[in-house]
């Protein structure tokens, strides 16, 4: 069914394609799916990824940029030399595959714990913090005029959303209250410079090879806003996967990240970066709470979702370490 439609679609634009291998579903909830397949060609197979929202799931979650915007951003990034998959095709109505796109599959590792621990990446790890700074500089430097239509976010708007999400949980979390209060007080106001913000730039959303960063994935939370947001988010303790003394994804120091960013001709506001790290820590804590709610109310009654609810406390200890450090 889906395989036949996809094969027909690929044959219509990939010259010389003789078919596809059976697509394997990589991830996805009800509204968005990621499939892996090869385009079969006499000169050798070509690895591809399909990202789509099946028909009937047109409405993306309010925070998502939408699949076509995501495709456009990845293509722009690719053309600007930012490590990114090449977008091959945007789905059309006549393909009958829903909305979405097909992109080149970039080989490498995305599982954070493997990247942090396996020998294969030992040579890359010490270089990654700096490289990530350079990659972010590339993303923030993409020309505004070429970008698709995106949400414009500020810390104040985001805090309003956090507050609403937190109140919706209906469960008192004094540490989250403390963080909300701290963030309101330290909100630096709108950024003088507004750029493309990736929105989920972190260890786990990057394809890494022994040579370093190969691709930046998961652009669905992209928006316009304070570029320092991405620098703060990549440092959130939850994305260090146990390597807590290496703030940048468990790889290296903030100084290395900043050095890579500065070397590409951009400026760093360290106070803003720290503000966004606190924001990001609370954000992940609230996302854990949101997943717990979906477990309780919604169609996804899985054990994994349930257990994620019990990970909110990880962000509580990290917020305390940031806002009320002990015995330092």
């Amino acid at each position: 069914m889906m395989e036949e439609k996809l094969a027909r679609c690929v044959a219509s634009w990939y010259p010389g394609a003789t078919g596809i291998t059976t697509p394997a579903k990589l991830s996805g909830g009800a509204s968005q799916e990621t499939w892996r397949f090869d385009i079969v060609h006499p000169d050798g197979n070509f690895g591809a990824i399909l990202r789509r929202a099946p028909s009937g799931y047109g409405a993306a979650p309010s925070r998502a940029a939408g699949l076509h915007a995501e495709a456009r951003l990845m293509q722009l990034a690719f053309e600007a030399g930012v490590p990114s998959p090449r977008v091959l095709y945007l789905l059309r109505v006549e393909d009958d595959l829903g909305t979405g796109f097909i992109m080149q599959r970039v080989e490498g590792e995305t599982i954070a714990r493997k990247i942090l621990r396996e020998e294969e990446f030992a040579g890359a790890r010490p270089k990654l913090a700096r490289q990530l700074g350079a990659v972010l500089a590339g993303i923030h430097g993409l020309p505004r005029a070429h970008l698709p239509k995106l949400r414009r976010m500020t810390a104040t708007k985001e805090l309003d959303e956090f507050e609403r999400d937190y109140r919706n949980l209906g469960w008192p979390k004094p540490v989250f209250e403390l963080a909300l209060r701290w963030l309101r007080k330290h909100d630096p106001g709108p950024s003088a410079e507004v750029t493309l913000v990736h929105g989920d730039f972190r260890n786990g959303n990057l394809v890494i090879g022994p040579d370093g960063v190969r691709a930046v994935l998961d652009w669905e939370l992209a928006h316009l806003g304070d570029p320092m947001e991405d620098l703060g988010w990549v440092c959130v303790n939850s994305w260090r996967f146990g390597e807590i003394d290496n703030p940048v994804g468990g790889f290296g120091s903030r100084e290395e990240l900043f050095a890579g960013y500065l070397a590409a001709g951009r400026r760093v506001d360290k106070a803003r970066v720290m503000f966004w790290e606190v924001m990001g820590t609370l954000r992940w804590g609230l996302m854990c709470g949101g997943m717990m709610q979906r477990f309780r109310q919604g169609p996804d009654h899985s054990m994994e979702r349930a257990m994620i609810g019990r990970r909110a406390s990880e962000t509580e200890i990290d917020l305390l370490r940031l806002l009320a450090p002990r015995g330092s």
């Binding site: 403390l178 257990m307 009320a324 002990r326």
Partner: protein, 127 residues
């Protein structure tokens, strides 16, 4: 009074069965799901073991901080409101200590292997 074995002992027996007899038989996605299931049961065991003691101490601290009595839920709601209003903050005597202790007690149940928790636990034991 209910009879023995206790819920903790019963759950422990299920964990041992899943880990020793079932885990070696399965692989792939089901093996992953089984690990999650075992983790859940172990969390339940930790909570059953620790909650009574930590709840009692938390209620005692809250009663002192807020100068009022109530259920743990009521006391936490009042604490949350007072922090939101700014009536209590980190300069309030005992608040930081209370939040730290309460959070440490949560992590002891939720994620005792979380690196930040282990670091803070070691720091606490040094004193």
């Amino acid at each position: 009074m209910q009879d023995e074995p206790t819920p903790i002992e019963l759950t422990r027996a299920v964990v041992d069965f899943l880990r020793e007899d079932i885990a070696p038989m399965i692989s792939g996605h089901h093996a992953f799901k089984l690990r999650v299931a075992i983790n859940i049961l172990e969390l339940v065991i930790r909570q059953s073991t620790l909650q009574e003691g930590s709840d009692a101490k938390e209620a005692e601290r809250l009663t002192g901080l807020l100068a009022m009595n109530g259920s743990l839920m009521e006391l936490n709601r009042v604490l949350a409101e007072r922090i939101a209003e700014g009536a209590l903050d980190l300069s309030t005597a005992g608040l930081a200590e209370h939040l730290w202790q309460t959070t440490m007690d949560k992590l002891a149940v939720d994620q005792p292997n979380y690196a930040s928790y282990r670091r803070e636990l070691a720091r606490y034991k040094e004193k």
